[in-house]
């Protein structure tokens, strides 16, 4: 048997299929005639001979089909099935549209969320061999991961063998001279090999060369693609041009490619080499940089960590004053970048998966209803000789068709959802989420769509097929046996509805818990009065304000001017606004307490005398700063309650002295007051001890101004900015917003809010689907039992008993659904507990509220069919076919 000839013959017959069919018909007709003739020869009358011959010959259609099956390719029957399924759908457009619509929503939302998760978490970082890139940092006793100091970095770079290169980056801001004045722009300072370590090649010009980041080096700068487009009009001749930052001229040497993103410094417009050591970098103990390193081939993360820890320990022995107790941290860079958003991404993925499940179950129950009305068709097919396998294949084809149509429309929905969600994210936040531009319908999302389409298809095909196994041909063909089959159907349909209700409960509980978390988060006690506070950041250009006296004079003048504005109650200046982060810290040593070189880390804030009163922070003991506390007096500080509790438990801290690790005379300062805890760290961070130094005693160039207003704080913002520029047009201002907006746009607030909105949306859709599903089950069941109800009423049952009969059925389903749902919801909440804030996974009020809501919705849904059942006219019911 030659396989080629075999296929060739099949193909030949394929193209002459009609001829084949005609031939076969003729052949069989001839055969039948011969049999007839034989019977007549044996003595049978011609008429009966013909019938006998036909009967003996058997089912010609089946015969023809079997012969055809011999020569047909397997996919031909599938094509037949598909055509039939399409015709079925066209006949019932309402059903088809509803099913496809529900599937599209479920699949579309799921695919959209997956695309976000893919871009943020799954896709590798856009660098060369990103899994070899490590985040390299120090660690201290209070912070697991803290910045590197410049001198430590240089030693680590020199001494290590685990990395082919270690480079650092740090944030900074500059005043860019523009035609219209000065504009503060965020930037990043990096070591010379930074882009080489990442594997990024500039698309215009050149990279920094080794050695170009040393102090005294040439002032060169690299532009990001966005800056090049925005500020330089995408001109190809920018290389060699000069920009003025902070009054100094920098030469542009290169432009970074479009796809370049670096999440930790996502909003940087310029990249500048480290160059001269700033005030912090001159001290080994001051940490302001973070490191990235590329692991050498064959070196594991653990090995690198061990080596860096050893190097850090070596430095701790060499420089006990600055490095005692400092260790090293080596983690994959992707962890640092992706880590904060992972919990919310995975939670959203799970929630969208639940939504998809509920949509699929809903459509499955729709299919179940339809298969009920096709029972007779199936029975007839069976009688005509179709095997159960053949009929199952028909159902599978229909499910596959629905699945694919749902998937295709789902992809459209996904595309729209992705665009919508991306546009909803506020611009300022979006600049910190560089992965957003990578969100789209790519390879991973396509595979995911196919997977969920297949899963949905399996679910949709399984329901009618399972239903079919309980089918009896005779039962289906006869008219009277409705209630028997109805019982089977009710069982399957009811199970599906219970599943839907459970899923809806899970999503509702999740939504409730997340909403409560968000509410709790926003109402965390911040320790100051956040209403009617306007804020703006200010940058003093270095050429006019290089000396501390100039800076102090500036601050005094700014405070005076702004206080005199109408609508302003008080003005305060600080180095960092509250509710930002536990950062900008200082190491202290308390005079008179035992000290073994440990690093006592506290938040340090330099504030003007008006600041703490402007915030309306609570004074607990002692006094606050006055206008006299300036450089001419000895250094004073105000501490918060946490500081007092930690370092002066049970005693009065007023008058005590605090200094740096060596108690240098210049660093000594006296505690003059204790204030209530103002939350300097993020909303869900811990409370740290904080010391407030007098701004006039230790000024700086970057400050934030807080203004308490009598009227609307939002309306006064432009006036504030104008007043600052009237004082000196070269002063840079940026980030003007109300305190409330500041708090709202912190990372934790954003994460919680996004999670809340999205899961709330899912929960609402799920509730609607589940309630509609319940309505469908109850309504159908009532329809099935119309005759039964008619009989009961004819026999004397009251309307109320009919109501209770129907509602009782609905209540059982609801109770079962809610019970299972609550159990699963608690489990799910425990899994996602990282997103919850101040709320337990088994929060009783939420569970109770969800149960009540679902119970009420279900009662309402079942009331309508119950009402219809009770208004049945017994006579008509008994006549119903």
């Amino acid at each position: 048997m030659n396989p080629f000839n075999y296929i060739a013959r099949k193909l030949r017959i394929l193209f002459r299929r009609d001829r084949f069919r005609a031939d076969l018909d003729e052949e069989m007709a001839f055969h039948r005639e011969q049999v007839e003739r034989e019977l007549i020869a044996e003595g049978m009358p011609p008429a009966s001979a013909r019938i006998a011959a036909a009967r003996q010959f058997g089912n010609t259609t089946q015969l023809r089909e079997e012969s055809q099956a011999m020569i047909a390719f397997p996919w031909e029957t599938i094509a037949q099935d598909v055509k039939f399924a399409l015709r079925q759908l066209r006949q019932k457009p309402g059903f088809a549209l509803t099913a496809v619509f529900i599937l599209a929503i479920g699949m579309g939302v799921s695919v959209a969320i997956f695309a976000f998760v893919d871009a943020a978490v799954i896709q590798p970082l856009p660098y060369f061999e990103p899994n070899r890139l490590m985040d390299v940092a120090e660690n201290g006793s209070m912070l697991h991961r803290s910045n590197l100091s410049r001198e430590d970095y240089e030693d680590w770079k020199r001494l290590n063998h685990s990395f082919t290169s270690i480079d650092v980056y740090g944030g900074s801001g500059y005043l860019l001279r523009t035609p219209s004045g000065s504009e503060p722009v965020p930037a990043a300072r990096v070591s010379d090999g930074f882009f080489r370590t990442l594997g990024v090649i500039p698309m215009l010009g050149r990279d920094f060369r080794p050695g170009e980041d040393h102090p005294g080096g040439a002032k060169i700068i690299m532009l990001t693609y966005g800056t090049w487009m925005k500020r330089f009009g995408s001109r190809s001749d920018v290389v060699g041009q000069s920009v003025t930052l902070d009054g100094t001229a920098y030469t542009i040497v290169g432009v970074l490619p479009r796809e370049f993103e670096f999440a930790p410094r996502a909003n940087a417009e310029f990249f500048v080499p480290l160059l001269d050591k700033n005030e912090c970098e001159q001290r080994r103990s001051c940490h302001n940089l973070f490191g990235i390193g590329r692991l050498r081939d064959g070196v594991t993360i653990k090995a690198a960590l061990d080596e860096m820890t050893a190097i850090a320990a070596q430095l701790a022995i060499q420089y006990p004053g600055s490095n005692k107790g400092q260790g090293a941290v080596v983690e994959p860079l992707s962890e640092i970048i992706v880590g904060p958003v992972k919990p919310i991404m995975l939670t959203l993925l799970a929630a969208s998966g639940l939504l998809l499940l509920i949509a699929a179950v809903n459509v499955a129950s729709l299919l179940l209803v339809r298969s009920e009305s096709r029972r007779r068709e199936i029975a007839v097919r069976g009688a005509l000789g179709a095997t159960p396998a053949r009929i199952s294949r028909q159902f599978v084809t229909e499910a596959l068709l629905l699945g694919m149509l749902g998937c295709a429309s789902g992809i459209l929905v996904a595309d729209g959802t992705m665009r919508g969600l991306t546009n909803l994210i506020p611009k300022a936040t979006a600049s910190f989420m560089p992965f957003l531009w990578r969100v789209g319908f790519h390879w991973h999302a396509a595979m995911y769509s196919v997977c969920i389409a297949l899963v949905a298809t399996v679910l949709l095909a399984a329901t009618p097929i399972l239903r079919l196994s309980f089918l009896d041909v005779r039962d289906a063909l006869s008219d009277g046996n409705r209630s028997v089959a109805g019982r089977f159907w009710r069982r399957m349909g009811a199970n599906l509805v219970v599943a839907e209700l459970s899923i809806a409960v899970i999503l509702l509980v999740g939504a409730g818990l997340l909403s409560k978390s968000f509410y709790r988060l926003l109402h965390v006690d911040v320790g100051f009065d956040g209403a009617h506070l306007a804020t703006v950041q200010m940058v003093a250009p270095p050429d006019s304000y290089a000396k501390p006296e100039q800076q102090v004079a500036l601050f005094r003048e700014v405070s005076r001017r702004l206080s005199s504005l109408p609508g302003v109650e008080s003005v305060g200046i600080t180095t960092d606004l509250p509710v930002q982060c536990n950062c900008n810290t200082d190491w202290i040593r308390v005079v008179g307490k035992p000290f073994h070189g440990e690093h006592n880390e506290v938040n340090e804030r330099d504030v003007s005398p008006g600041y703490l009163p402007t915030l309306k922070a609570r004074l607990v003991r002692g006094r606050l700063f006055t206008e006299d506390d300036d450089a001419s007096k000895s250094n004073k500080i105000v501490i918060n309650e946490e500081f007092a509790k930690k370092y002066f438990p049970g005693e009065d801290p007023i008058g005590k002295q605090v200094g740096n690790g060596n108690l240098d005379p210049k660093s000594m300062r006296e505690i003059i007051g204790v204030v209530g805890n103002v939350r300097e760290g993020g909303l869900d961070d811990e409370l740290w001890p904080t010391e407030y130094e007098a701004l006039y005693q230790s000024p700086g160039k970057f400050v934030s101004i807080a203004v308490r207003t009598t009227g609307s704080e939002g309306a006064i913002l432009p006036t504030l900015v104008k007043a600052v520029h009237e004082l000196d047009p070269n002063l840079g201002t940026y980030g003007e917003s109300t305190m409330a907006e500041q708090i709202n746009t912190t990372q934790s607030a954003l994460i919680h809010r996004t999670a809340m909105w999205l899961v709330d949306g899912f929960a609402v859709i799920a509730l609607v689907l589940a309630v509609v599903g319940l309505y469908g089950v109850v309504a159908y069941s009532v329809g099935q039992r119309t005759r039964e109800i008619g009989v009961r009423m004819a026999l004397g049952a009251q309307r109320s008993s009919v109501y209770s009969m129907v509602m009782r059925q609905a209540s059982w389903l609801t109770v079962a659904g809610v019970a299972i749902g609550v159990a699963c919801a608690i489990g799910a909440a425990m899994l996602g507990s990282k997103l919850l804030f101040g709320v337990a996974a088994w929060d009783l009020p939420t569970l109770a509220a969800v149960s009540v809501v679902l119970g009420a919705a279900s009662l309402a849904a079942s009331f309508l069919p119950a009402h219809r059942a009770a208004s049945v006219n017994p006579v008509e019911a008994l006549r119903t076919e």
């Binding site: 076969l24 099956a69 011999m70």
Partner: protein, 108 residues
């Protein structure tokens, strides 16, 4: 009256053997098998035609339309060289099977 069923898998062999004697149409094949086996073996038409298609596809028989003695048009099947070879193979296999079964049954 229930007739013994044809052993599964032997239909192809019987058809090929029948055609070895002379080319025949479908009805003729069925009649021949029935007659030579003394009415013991009856080929259901429902199995005959699918089997003939199968044999055609494998290239063991070929078919052409000819006129019968009674001047009717019918499709005649002829054994091909490959079919002849296949017949030999199947007969050998069948005889081996029968011998084996016979040995088993022969054991007391």
């Amino acid at each position: 009256m229930k007739r013994p069923e044809l052993l599964p898998g032997t239909l192809d062999m019987l058809i090929l053997k029948t055609l070895k004697r002379a080319p025949l149409h479908g009805y003729g094949i069925a009649q021949s098998i029935k007659r030579i086996s003394d009415d013991v073996l009856t080929v259901e038409e429902g199995s005959l035609y699918p089997a003939l298609q199968r044999l055609l596809l494998q290239g063991w028989v070929k078919a052409e339309w000819k006129m019968t003695e009674t001047n009717r048009r019918a499709r005649f099947y002829t054994l091909t060289a490959a079919g002849r070879k296949q017949l030999g193979v199947e007969v050998t296999q069948f005889e081996q099977m029968i011998a084996a079964i016979g040995r088993v049954l022969g054991e007391a």
